[in-house]
Subunit: 191 residues, 2 copies
Amino acid sequence: MATTQTTKEKVKQTAQKLFRERGYAAVGMRELAKEVGIQAPSLYNHYKSKDDLLREICFDMAQYFFVAFDKAVTTEEKSPRKLKAVIKAHISVIATNLEASEVFFNEWMFLEQPHLGKFKKLRFEYEMKFREIIDKGIKKGDFKKMNSKLIAFAIFSALNATYELYRSNEKLSQEEIAEDISDLLLKGLKS
Amino acid sequence: MATTQTTKEKVKQTAQKLFRERGYAAVGMRELAKEVGIQAPSLYNHYKSKDDLLREICFDMAQYFFVAFDKAVTTEEKSPRKLKAVIKAHISVIATNLEASEVFFNEWMFLEQPHLGKFKKLRFEYEMKFREIIDKGIKKGDFKKMNSKLIAFAIFSALNATYELYRSNEKLSQEEIAEDISDLLLKGLKS
DNA sequence: GCCATAAGCTAACGGTTGTTAGCAAAAGAA
DNA sequence: TTCTTTTGCTAACAACCGTTAGCTTATGGC
């Protein structure tokens, strides 16, 4: 990076890395501090608490997802293309925030109240935005008549695990992943 | 339950419940013991360590998946039906071991060596069994020519998240879930 | 130069962690 | 019965937890 990094940024980035690698509960403040290159109490000059750190990571990610979705949803009209657009947007957010994404997906449960409740609400709203596209597509006849909750859920599962793909040996481009997964979901595996 | 439960069984079951609810690292031995109704040191009459408990939960589940797969894979011949059969088997294992499944999927990373390595190897082997069915299906022309690694991965993601469905409000039967998900994956969403 | 703020440090707090030692009671086998 | 094994208990250890207090040093604005 050409841009120099503030200590606060370094703390956040290091926390993302460690929380992802070993889980929020298993990472201590002293360990985090050591990785950053400062002493543990100095962390509190930048974040109020360990939970505060997790909160920032998770809610920043939530915002990225919402912004990307809203931007994508307006670009297309027909249901299949619209769905493909938001799938691409979703995958793109994951790809550009790989470590934070994993924290977002796997460690949010360690958020304390009231942030935990707020987070769940946001997540539900986001899922409903996806589901709405599917429901409208079914109503318009663009999609088969299926249990939309179940389908939306399956799509989500596939998308939210894409971060694992980026970590695998084979180098797959973001385009390739988005293209193949939306193809699979729209047209199916059968020839 | 009509069958009386040994203390060891109760420890395991309670551990599954707590590990799932709050994560392996966040659950203490004293808390686990309290839930079981004994003192913390008494746990060590049944399990050598906290890791030992996690190990048993994870490796038992691994075995269930392997057994169910091998049983299912022989029942069908044609690729799409074979894939559907193993999908059903996989979902069935999850459905009958709901809490242990979540621990299996989300907490395995806390296994210590050498069990962690062994676990990863088992998981990879299992994924390859799935992928093999897909590859053969592609070769025989039953499936579209697609990036099989990516596809196998997407299928897995959808399957492995089904435990969330059972926890949702709407009551969905195992049959319904297996049927709809394999339909989606085989035929796609598009009408 | 002066002052305020930011950002680091050491020492230490009360509490919790997984685990062991050592002992007692219960259960089962002979 | 007597012996062994199992299963429980209390007490405790060393290590670690997130966090605070209080102090020093560097930084940036005026």
